[in-house]
Amino acid sequence: MNYNQLINHRNARNSYSILSNIITTEIREGYAKCELNITENHFNVINVVAGGALFTLMDSAGGATANSYGARVTTLSSSVEFLNAIKEPKKVYGIGRTLKRGKNIIVVDTLVEDDQGKCYAQGTFTYFNLKAPFHPTEENNNE
């Protein structure tokens, strides 16, 4: 598995991640890290970062972690806890670690933390393995 190709593929192909200002920075087997650069567009009506933005960061990290085994996946379910509010623009990280890799189902633990290691949200995501391989090089060449 060429993880750099997978990272490039994810960053180029996921329009919603681009819209959300999220990039995948690291993938290895059963692990992934994404970054969210928070801007004023991520804030909600009570002037904290919207839960949807943090959810998307965790889903991105979880999806990248599930992708690390070489197949496309889709999200089946998730359960997220919002632990601390983010009140100012900063960079935060979504980190995913596999809890269980089954034949069809992959369960990933995710969290959102900053440079100081403060945790803002935690989520458990369940993915279904679509058994369809990536062809990052071929697809990137077609762009």
């Binding site: 996921n14 329009s15 919603y16 991520h42 919207a50 949807g52 959810f55 889903d59 359960s79």
Partner: protein, 141 residues
Amino acid sequence: MDYNKLKDYLGNQDHFIKEIGIEIDSIREGFAQTRLIHTDRHRNANGVVNGGALYTLADFTGVCAASSYGYRITTLNGTVNYLKPVRMNDKVIAVGRTTKYGNRIINITVDLFNDDGVIFMQSDLLFYNLGIKLELNEYEL
């Protein structure tokens, strides 16, 4: 509670909702209906609408329903089941209903479906009442 004013307030003051393209159809006590106006920007690597966009729609719909009691609230947690992928030509409507309104905790269920009632996603969300009254009279459009 002036629900039209609440609708204007939530729809116009939330930067993230405007960025994502969510519109509020209606709010009344313990109830809200919204919709996602999705474009190619909402597409994920599998070519369907990203799950994060759908969660954002569910969460905001829950915020609208939980705010209908007149207090500022914040999301504590959310549990989501994705039942069917949303294709790029599907319309997406979200309906949120209160299942329990407590002193501090509000439970809301939010379903996402299309015009034909086909369900895309089901979710349960918990909100915390911050105990601060929404002062909509101070809000100017």
